[in-house]
Amino acid sequence: MGKAKDKSGPLGRRPDNSAFKQQRLPAWSPMLTANTVLPFFYLLALICMLLGVWLLLTVQSTQEIKLDYTELGNCDQCFQLRKNVSYAAQTCSCKVEFSIDRAFKGDVFFYYGLKNFHQNLRRYMDSRDDEQTLGRKNKLKNPSSYCEPFAKDAGVPIAPCGAVANSMFNDSFTLTYHPSRSRTIPVPLLRKGLTWYTDKNVKFRNPKTDNLTLAAAFEGTRQPLYWQKPVYDLDPHDPTNSGFINEDLIIWMREAAFPNFKKLYGILNRADASFTKGLPKGNYTIDISYNFPVQYFQGRKEVVLTTLTWFGGQNHFLPIAYLVTSSLILLMAVVLTLAWWKFGKDGKNMKE
């Protein structure tokens, strides 16, 4: 009531005499001049420098080995074979040899890499149905139109539908360690536990089985056109890694950001007595089941073995970027110090 009364009369429309409406708010003026920012600059340079050095030292301790096996050794034959799509059904395997000079200490990660493969192409990224891979029954039989033209094969729905699933990387690798000429030890790789927790447990679910076998759950669907086996058969030995929750599939379905990328294939199982400390130095071979054709997009395939740090794989860019930034800040700080020294030490000569 009192307020309403205040609002009447000729002065009713006068704005309140508040600090905000009268623009009298107490304000801090960040007067950015040489003398005020110099300490900040030196501090920032120091912090960046320390961080850069720390990152550099960390990265130096990592080890990485990359093998482009596209046409390496006897894989060349397979490469030629895969040029012709009519031999797609034929299996082809090859062997790649390499040696490690320095032991890989700690967890060793086995990646496969692809080059010039645009998983981030807009129409490619569109071509998937998250609801189907979430295990929704209606979507299983009735995939989203986003998946076209990989939604149905002759009227039968494809599971999993879409271009992303259709183009799934299907080379497989077996790593073998040769401690001596005669002895061979297969290197055990963990092929589970590679994915994000949320992907494995929430985003990708198999259709409800109701005590049926997985194959029965996928009844009435067809495998993607380029696949050699149906989705429920991806890992015949482990039903918790088969169907939509197959980890290779999940990893593949996370489209890579760049055309050159790597995806996790397996982690060294350090429970095995020979590899508790990582990969020892010596000779290794990789048996490759060579299925994925890359010549259509002038791509390359590679295998990457690496150890990781707390901030990711072997990447020298970040520490160097920190060091460069630090030196730039230092340079600026020095320039500003000179300017401050020469001109505005006490603001006196600002006056004229």
């Binding site: 623009q23 007067m31 950015l32 998250d130 055309p259 860019f317 730039l328 800040i329 001109f343 505005g344």
Partner: protein, 846 residues
């Protein structure tokens, strides 16, 4: 305003004469012919009656707001009203003047006596009404008697009735809002007029223009009080006669062509039809040129006219607003004839305006001059300081006024537009050719002077062009426009006097279009409306001249002095805020959208995005929408007091120094750099890794948000808690949204399904390492630019701010001294020069 308008101090001599004459009229009662003094009394009474009724003033009182119309009051409350009833009855029933006299005087006597004892002083003159009637008739029709020559010149000098300023509205409003204030004021007034009753003090006059109200108040000071107004009649108290009902026959309202207004009334005393005309001195003097009657009377009359003209000139020189009052007595037949034509004109459908004008002009002829008035037009406070500050800020000030040339020059003098060293160039001429020649002549004079000054390196004097309405009419014509503009550009200030509203707007339009400057028009009256509308910025001063100017303006202020703050502080801020906010907006969008652009090189130019589509949508809409607005509302590049102290700081915004191509391109360059950094640092950090598209977009988007927000912190001149709150909220909102979105939305926004991405990202050190590096690296050039800019090439505002900081104490002392000196000097000058003048309307051209 109430105080100002009512503060009429009656001329004691005139009051004495009036009362003396009133009482002497009593003794003259019954004499065969009107004496010299009764004729003078007639004139004076007529003059004040005209002042009181020749207007459209509405009377109201606080207890009875609006029209205090006697007829409208159904329940009769007081004797006053009963008296009115009687009077009206008597008036209508006994219309012939011969019979009507005595009953009316009887009633008025009766009721005035019954009413209050304070009226005793006025009672005797009541009896004189009968006696003076023949005298009045005689004086007006035959005019055989020698009148005292200076009689009609009795001026109404309202020495302190300064109120045309029209900008006193604030006061008025304050008083209206506070009834007690009014009462106090009025009670204070009541003490002056001893014959006035308490109820008189309740009268409030609401006039279209303050001049009218001033005149009514002036008449009241001489006990000629307007008590009420209805559609058909007016109630007037006359000195020595008492309350009279004046039958109002017609009002011919004011228009700017005729420059006068008239009322046609039936004179309450004589019963004749009388026309009272009030208007601009030149017009009335022309209309009242000759007087019918004997040679002697004509001689006297022409003498009177001469005297009046002299007085008018004196008033104008003193800066008073002059008006002339005249009357005309109509014969009944004459009136009948005119009435027919007037009614015809009123009822006609075609050309009604022309017919009405014609009819009015036919009526307003052969007027008898009654006198003239001079109204003090008090200058508002701080006008000279304001104009000085505006000129220091580099604004060219023009005065466009309807006043006479002398008045206008006086006003210019009073508001320090005109200094003693300035040279006045007057342009008055009668024909187009003469005008052209005159302009050329003045131009060559100015050029000559300039050359002389250049050679002598002494440029102290500057030119002020004074041009009157008639010359302006020629000067605004196509052929002479050019030389007029050239001349006015060379002058420090231009004063256009006697200009019509149309001319004002034409002048503004001419300047705006031809010189290509920003024009600002300030005015308070209805005659400034067209000018205010034409100008780029129209400012209305709310005041007694009504609300038309305010309603047609872009900004309304209550006092002229507020113009200084409006322009120097708020104008300055507004420009800086707008310019900086627009630059920031453009920067923000270029920077953000470029991130998506860079990604196209890596996704086969397919239009893919690495950021979730909802985040993309909300980024501009929510996450970074409030900070630029707050920046645009609250930023103050220079403190208000500094801006007020140093008007020259306004120059930066006047000459548009902030929003220039250089600043725009600097911002674009910075936006490009930042987007490059913001995209490519994460790119190189993640190239060849197993990062997914959205995992790549996450650090980019986060650092883009921080860069954009911190960029604003760097750019802001002032930071308040609101800035802080908004910045923190923006960031919090972003994180809150993406976290919740990626935690709960499993199959949302295909194909950029964010599920699980952001919740994973904030657990990874790499995310923070990338974001920190990107933000720091992106903001480095901007901060360096700012620091170097502020340290080396510090702008005038910053310099003054630093000066404040560096030698705060000394500076404050000096400023205090300076202020003291200035305020003392200026206030002295205002009062010494001209205690009562006011710039009606100024046109400020920047």
């Amino acid at each position: 305003m109430v105080k100002a308008a009512k503060d009429v101090v009656p001329d004691p001599e005139l009051v004495r004469k009036l009362s003396c004459l009133s009482s002497s009229a009593l003794h003259l009662k019954g004499s065969s012919s009107a004496s010299l003094s009764s004729l003078e009394l007639t004139y004076i009474t007529d003059f004040f009656l005209a002042l009181a009724i020749c207007n459209s003033v509405v009377v109201s009182s606080p207890s009875q707001p609006r029209h205090m119309v006697p007829e409208a009051q159904a329940p009769l409350k007081s004797l006053e009203e009963i008296k009115l009833m009687f009077q009206r009855l008597s008036f209508y029933s006994f219309s012939p003047p011969q019979i009507k006299g005595s009953p009316r005087s009887f009633t008025s006597k009766l009721f005035t006596r019954g009413k209050t004892s304070s009226f005793t002083f006025n009672t005797p003159p009541n009896n004189s009404t009968d006696g003076s009637d023949p005298a009045l008739e005689c004086s007006q029709d035959t005019c055989k008697l020698k009148t005292k020559v200076d009689l009609p010149d009795r001026r109404d000098r309202e020495d302190s009735a300064a109120m045309s300023s029209g900008e006193d509205l604030e006061n008025l409003m304050e008083i209206k809002a506070d009834d007690d204030g009014v009462k106090q004021n009025l009670e204070g007034m009541g003490g002056d007029g001893e014959s006035e009753e308490d109820i008189d003090d309740e009268l409030l006059y609401e006039a279209e223009s303050p001049d009218e109200a001033a005149l009514v108040h002036a008449a009241r000071a001489y006990h000629c009080t307007l008590r009420g107004r209805s559609a058909e009649s007016l109630l007037v108290d006359l000195p020595g006669i008492g309350s009279l009902v004046v039958q109002l026959l017609h009002i011919l309202p004011f228009d700017s062509n005729r420059k006068r207004m008239s009322v046609v009334v039936r004179h309450p005393v004589t019963g004749q039809v009388v026309v009272y005309t009030k208007g601009a001195d030149s017009v009335i003097m022309d209309l009242a040129e000759t007087q019918k009657g004997s040679e002697q009377a004509q001689e006297i009359y022409s003498h009177i006219r001469e005297q009046t003209q002299k007085h008018l000139d004196t008033y104008a020189r003193e800066g008073l607003r002059t008006l002339c009052i005249a009357k005309k007595v109509l014969e009944e037949e004459e009136y009948e004839v005119w009435l027919k034509r007037q009614l015809l004109a009123e009822s006609s459908i075609e050309n009604q305006e022309e017919l009405l004008l014609d009819s009015a002009q036919r009526l307003e002829t052969d007027l008898t001059l009654l006198g003239c008035t001079g109204i003090v037009d008090r200058l508002q406070e701080d006008v000279p300081e304001t104009i000085e500050a505006l000129q220091e800020a580099g604004i060219k000030v023009w005065i466009l006024t309807g006043d006479k040339q002398e008045t206008a020059i006086n006003i210019a003098n009073a508001c320090k537009l005109l200094r003693s060293s300035d040279r006045l160039l007057s342009a008055n001429c009668g024909s187009r050719d003469a005008c052209g020649a005159l302009l050329e002549e003045l131009l060559s004079e100015v050029q000559h002077e300039e050359e002389r000054e250049e050679s002598s390196l002494d440029s102290t004097s500057s030119f002020i062009l004074v041009i009157d309405g008639r010359t302006l009419e020629w000067a605004l014509q196509e052929e002479l426009k050019g030389s007029f503009l050239e001349l006015s550009c060379k002058c420090k200030a231009v004063i256009c006097c006697r200009s019509t509203p149309l001319q004002k707007s034409k002048v503004v339009q001419l300047i705006r279009d031809k010189i290509g400057v920003m024009t600002l028009a300030v005015g308070d009256g209805a005659n400034d409306v067209s000018m205010i509308q034409v100008a780029d910025v129209g400012i209305g001063i709310s005041g007694q001249e009504g609300m038309q100017a305010v309603m047609s303006s872009d900004f309304a202020i209550s006092r002229f002095k507020h113009l200084k703050k409006l322009l120097l502080v708020h104008g300055h801020w507004c420009y800086h805020r707008l310019a900086n906010m627009i630059l920031y907006f453009i920067y923000k969008n270029v920077m953000y959208v470029n991130l998506l652009f860079w990604y196209q090189f890596f996704c086969g130019y397919s239009g893919s995005v690495m950021i979730n589509s909802w985040v993309l949508i909300l980024f501009n809409l929510v996450f970074t929408s409030a900070p630029p607005l707050i920046y645009g509302i609250l930023d103050q590049d220079t403190p208000a007091d500094t801006l007020m102290k140093l008007p020259e700081l306004y120059g930066a915004s006047r000459t548009t120094k902030v929003y220039i191509p250089f600043m725009f391109w600097i911002n674009m360059l910075d936006a490009f750099y930042q987007s490059l950094v913001c995209f490519f640092l994460p790119y190189f950090a993640l190239a060849g890794s197993d990062a997914g598209t959205l995992s790549f977009g996450s650090p980019i988007n986060t650092s883009a948000l921080f860069i954009i927000l911190l960029h604003q912190v760097i750019e802001s001149n002032t930071l308040t808690w609101i800035h802080m709150l908004v910045l923190v909220l923006s960031a919090a909102l972003y994180f809150g949204f993406v976290q919740l979105y990626s935690a709960f939305c499993v199959v949302c926004s295909h194909p950029t399904n964010l599920f699980g991405v952001e919740t994973l990202q904030i657990t990874q050190p790499l995310f923070y390492i990338i974001c920190t590096l990107t933000t720091v690296a992106a903001l480095l050039p901007r901060i360096l630019f700012r620091v170097l800019f502020n340290s080396l090439h510090s702008s005038a505002p910053l310099r003054s701010a630093q000066r404040d900081e560096a030698a705060a104490e000394r500076y404050r002392q000096r400023m205090k001294l300076w202020n003291l000196k200035h305020s003392g000097a200026s206030s002295l000058q205002v009062h010494a020069d001209n205690p009562g003048l006011e710039p009606i309307e100024d046109e400020v051209v920047s």
